[in-house]
């Protein structure tokens, strides 16, 4: 911090403050976060969507599974024939679209988050082990990463889901087992950068066992980078889940996944395009928000890495 604060390029009074009273890392983080528009937007949108998903039973105006064949395909309120009893209209079975959208957010977030945790665990473990031990271990793990990158994941995910029979658990497991590559790449290179750090040397000299060095010295120091990858991979998992559900091999009807809603609306593309526009826009917004949050976290935690 002090190295940069000695040569201010533009009048920036927060820097002067830092010289007077050094800020804690948390204060620096909050200070930068408050000024980062992408981060704020991303965090805000995610909070809103997460709140809607969690509070769906309270907020949804209707039961998301209740069919009403008399009021099928009622358009949203801003179109002709739209009415406030179904603000976003109804689908081909007369189910309230807004309620299905709220409940659908649960699936996107649940699947994206769990798949990310699984792949994050696998990838980070492999990456840290490869980076810390180096040598032959590193060769083998690098080989695994290369092999994983060579496999067409969409195709494999679809084939496995089709053969196993699709369910929520299976979708989560497939995505979790396929999306670990970026975690491994980043954790490996970050660990390699740390390997010769003084505090690792002294931990080793003190006789600290390897697993404790990894858990208490390395992991906390690479966490920033891993969290950034985690956001991007969560977004990736959400997009893949939607694609799987869109093709009928993800979340199964009548559950309201956004990908599935788009697939069901596809048949009415000609006259009722809003049926695909609404869940698609929700998906776009959620993934956009997660990506912006991730980019923001990277800028905030290591501004020098910003290109």
């Amino acid at each position: 911090m002090n190295a940069t604060s000695n040569m201010p390029s533009a009048p920036d009074f927060t820097r002067d403050l830092e010289i007077v009273a050094p800020l804690t890392p948390r204060q620096i983080f909050l200070r930068r976060a408050r000024r980062h528009r992408g981060f704020l937007f991303g965090a805000g949108v995610i909070l809103v969507i997460a709140a809607l998903a969690l509070l769906a039973p309270l907020l949804a105006p209707h039961d998301p599974y209740a069919q009403n064949l008399i009021s099928r395909l009622q358009p949203p309120v801003w179109m002709d024939r739209g009415a406030w009893d179904h603000p976003l209209g109804t689908d081909q079975l007369g189910r309230d679209y807004l309620s299905r959208l709220f409940y659908g957010a649960q699936f996107s977030l649940l699947i994206g988050f769990t798949a990310m945790v699984i792949s994050g665990f696998i990838g980070t473990s492999l990456g840290v082990v490869a980076g810390y031990f180096g040598g032959r271990v590193d060769l083998i793990i690098t080989f695994l990463i290369t092999a994983r990158l060579s496999m067409p994941i969409v195709l494999i995910a679809l084939a496995v889901a089709a053969l196993l029979g699709s369910s929520l658990t299976i979708v989560i497991l497939i995505l979790g087992l396929l999306l670990w590559d970026r975690f491994a790449v980043v954790a490996r290179s970050k660990t390699m950068q740390l390997r010769d750090a003084d505090y690792l040397m002294s931990a080793k000299a003190l006789g600290m066992p390897r697993w404790r060095i990894i858990l208490t010295e390395i992991l906390p120091n690479i966490m920033d980078a891993v969290i950034v990858v985690a956001t991007l991979e969560m977004a990736h998992a959400i997009l893949l889940e939607a694609a799987l559900s869109f093709l009928g091999l993800g979340v199964q009807p009548p559950l309201p996944s956004w990908g599935l809603m788009i697939a069901e609306g596809k048949d009415f593309l000609l006259f009722e395009p809003w049926l695909i526009m609404i869940p698609g826009a929700a998906l776009l917004l959620l993934v956009l928000a997660i990506n912006l949050l991730g980019d923001g976290l990277r800028d905030i935690s290591s501004p020098e890495a910003r290109s």
Binding site: P152, A159, L292
Partner: protein, 305 residues
């Protein structure tokens, strides 16, 4: 360079072998292929017959070895749904997918490289912001949804493009845009950051100081070096696009290998699925190998590592 060549070739070979093992066993572990192929309402005798006919009753390792041995000679067995040799199906369908992939790659490079360069030359300008939005949006857009939106706009509201089929070039316009846009963010970010790095280099300042016109410095001195990493990411993206074309082809009803994959997956046509997984992986491994060579040829520093 020769050592480098053979090292990389050996690695590519090992990766290809490993991936073939992995995908074979993964698809086999995912369920009993005989039951899946027999479909609903099949009797135990039907299933036993299929098991016998396709050799599913042999030890898995034997099945793999004979499958790999045949695959090396270009024989992927018979498709259980199309009742044709898988190799014939694939050779019929592959050109369409490759054509789509190539045109998507060209579209994406034509969009990403100029935009990335302009953004790097004028950092934080309007064009930089536009480039950033294009890339952020491209990363967040579900490609199947983008495809449907294009259909709504260009086939329903303003009927200028056909929504499905593969008879003439107009059928390929929307699939190319969707697939190409998918690869754009990565290529553009790399062009921009590569260009920014190069523009700060000493030799660029020297070139300017010598009085060489700015446009010439940009194209002859800067672009040549900035484009280097783009070569390898472009080949990687091409591999991703071939894998991703399964969704696009099923939406636009293009009879390429992606749609073949989709059809064979939904019909539990295991020989075809396995062949396609293997071929796409091989193409990807091959592309990576070529990209490594091109990079090493362009940048001698890589050869030593």
């Amino acid at each position: 360079m020769t050592v480098f060549f053979f090292k990389r070739l050996g690695l590519a070979f090992l990766v290809a072998l490993f991936v073939s093992v992995l995908s074979f066993f993964m698809l086999r572990a995912a369920g009993d292929p005989a039951i899946a192929m027999a479909g609903e309402g099949a009797t135990a005798a039907d299933i036993e017959f299929i098991r016998e006919q396709f050799g599913f009753n042999r030890p898995l390792l034997m099945q793999y070895l004979s499958w790999l041995g045949n695959a090396l000679t270009g024989d992927f067995g018979e498709s259980s749904y199309f009742a044709k040799p898988v190799s014939q199906l694939i050779s019929e369908r592959l050109p369409i997918t490759l054509g789509l992939g190539v045109s998507a790659l060209i579209f994406s490079i034509l969009l990403a490289v100029p935009l990335g360069m302009l953004a790097a030359v004028n950092p934080n300008s309007l064009i930089d912001r536009i480039a950033l939005s294009v890339s952020v949006l491209g990363q967040a857009m579900p490609n199947f949804w983008f495809a449907l939106m294009l259909i709504v706009i260009f086939s329903v509201w303003y009927p200028v493009l056909p929504a499905s089929g593969n008879a003439e070039w107009r059928h390929f316009v929307m699939p190319t845009i969707v697939l190409g846009y998918y690869a754009t963010p990565a290529i553009m970010r790399l062009t921009r950051s590569g260009m920014l790095e190069v523009l700060n280099a000493d030799y660029i300042r020297t070139a300017h100081a010598k009085g060489i016109p700015a446009s010439r410095v940009l194209i002859k001195h800067a672009m040549r070096n900035a484009i280097l990493p783009v070569v390898s990411i472009a080949s990687v993206q091409f591999g991703y696009m071939l894998g991703g074309s399964i969704i696009i082809e099923s939406i636009f009803a293009l009879h390429g290998i992606g749609q073949l994959a989709w059809e064979s997956i939904s019909r539990a046509d295991l020989p075809t699925v396995q062949a396609i997984v293997l071929i796409l992986s091989l193409i990807y491994v091959g592309l990576n190998f070529v990209a490594d060579l091109v990079n090493a040829w362009l940048d001698p520093r890589i050869r030593i590592a």
